[in-house]
């Protein structure tokens, strides 16, 4: 009987160990992100970095409205990197997304940089200064 019991225990442990290590997820970002399922289907099927950028922008309007964009979108009236993702709000207060960043390279790069720097504890001013230095060699800013 003890043999059977010890075996049962061994297998339970094995399965438990396997399940535990197999299910451990990647360390997720600590930054606030908007849940993906609240976003349009096109964003849900977009590349992961684009999803992350949309989710971060939607959840961090205060920061993102202080971050410039260098993709040239000043000419279509964008006044910050935030505008590349969010066009505004509808009558019910729900976000209206902008498709611009779905096909934009620099917009998303800037957002990912902002996320990386914020995680390192940088202030919005420091992040803006960094973005200005890195991206001004590619084009004009959309912020004064």
């Amino acid at each position: 009987m003890s043999g059977a019991k010890s075996l049962l225990l061994l297998f339970t442990l094995l399965i438990g160990f396997g399940a535990f290590t197999g299910c451990s997820t990647q360390d997720a970002s600590h930054l606030p992100l908007m849940p993906l399922d609240q976003m349009p289907a096109e964003i849900q099927s977009a590349p992961s970095v684009v999803q992350t950028a949309y989710r971060f922008a939607a959840a961090n309007p205060e920061l993102m409205q202080q971050i410039p964009c260098y993709c040239g979108c000043g000419s279509i009236g964008h006044t910050s990197n935030y505008a590349c993702y969010i066009a505004g709000k509808d009558a019910n207060g729900a976000l209206i997304f902008d498709a611009h960043a779905l096909g934009c390279s620099i917009c998303v790069d800037i957002t990912l940089d902002a996320m990386r720097l914020q995680e390192q504890g940088k202030s919005p001013q420091e992040i803006k200064a960094y973005i200005d230095r890195i991206y001004s060699k590619f084009g004009p800013s959309n912020m004064p």
Binding site: S48, G72, A87, F97, D98, A99, S105, I134
Partner: protein
């Protein structure tokens, strides 16, 4: 006694086959490449210290990818599914570097980029200020239409233009070349006693005189690797991914955004109205919301100019460059 021994052996054997793979896989850091839709690079940010070798074990979790670092001379390596490619990198200057996928892995291939933060003594220096690109100093609007009114009927020929240019002692300095569109030079030549077709041939010659076989072949290589998948191998804007960038349909979107199809470089009207500075700007910055990537962080200035040189082989017939 014998029984305990057997129990022990069984336990060791079974725990071993379960535990060893788990421990080995968990304790071997690897840089995973996945399709951009499935996560891209993981991790996407890598830490390194200046002048200390950074050893990376690259593996792909789906299809063939590639690995290179933007603006660095390190050769590209392939990242193969289920296999491991080891690279040892050494950074002499602190700063942030971009690594990217070098093998087309779908229309979103260019989204596969990551960052290497190279620190000196644990701290990351502020990026050095850089001058704005040429198109900004020239005051060009990258997104303004630049098609010309009366393009030539056939591709202007540098071979035909060469003797004419010699006759009239015409030349074009590199600075003038970069700052002007072919059409602007064509207009400047209006006073010469030449037919429009002859003037275009002269422009073709002047354009080729600002390129070299080396820049053209380097440009051709870069074009095939990075551009042809969308813009087409013949430059006609008909690459295999040309139709991949469509407008979203969800009502929660405001604008149409990326509605564009890739530019056809064989279109004389738009190409002859584009200056090298403009093309360079487009390559550096990418298309605003059109799905055209920004190549600024990846290509060196020399590479970008080589690519620009090469792009003119589509509207122009250069000597010794078959098309």
């Amino acid at each position: 006694m014998r029984k305990t021994w057997i129990h022990f052996l069984i336990a060791v054997w079974l725990a071993g086959v379960v535990g060893v793979p788990i421990l080995l896989r968990k304790n071997t850091p690897m840089l995973h490449a996945r399709l951009p839709e499935n996560g891209g690079w993981s991790p996407a940010v890598i830490q390194a210290e200046v002048n200390r070798p950074l050893r990376l074990r690259l593996t792909s979790d789906d299809v063939m990818h590639g690995f290179a670092i933007g603006q660095q001379s390190m050769p590209e390596v392939d990242v193969l599914p289920g296999q491991v490619t080891e690279v040892v990198l050494n950074f002499e200057k602190p700063g942030t570097y971009t690594f990217y996928c070098t093998r087309w892995c779908g229309p979103n291939h260019w989204r596969m980029r990551g960052t290497i933060e190279v620190r000196a003594g644990g701290s990351l220096p502020d990026p050095e200020p850089a001058p704005p690109p040429l198109y900004v100093s020239l005051g060009l609007d990258l997104d303004a239409p630049h098609a010309i009114p009366f393009p030539p009927a056939t591709r202007p020929s540098a071979a035909k233009g060469a003797p004419l240019a010699k006759t009239f002692h015409l030349s074009l300095s590199p600075e003038e070349y970069r700052a002007h569109s072919p059409y602007q030079i064509f207009e400047q030549l209006a006073s010469l006693p030449l037919s429009p077709a002859e003037r275009w041939d002269v422009v073709a010659y002047l354009w080729q005189s600002n390129t070299s076989p080396q820049t053209l072949s380097e440009g051709a290589r870069l074009y095939a690797r990075n551009c042809a998948a969308c813009h087409g191998e013949s430059g006609a804007g008909d690459g295999v991914f040309a139709q991949a960038f469509t407008s979203p349909v969800s009502p929660s979107f405001s604008s149409e955004g990326m509605q564009q199809v890739p530019t056809a470089f064989t279109d004389l009207s738009s190409m002859l109205g584009a200056s090298p500075a403009l093309l360079q700007g487009k390559i550096l910055r990418g298309g605003m919301g059109t799905g055209m990537p920004a190549w600024g962080p990846l290509l060196t200035p020399e590479q970008t100019w080589a690519l620009v040189d090469y792009l003119y082989t589509f509207p122009f017939e250069f000597q010794g460059v078959p098309k």
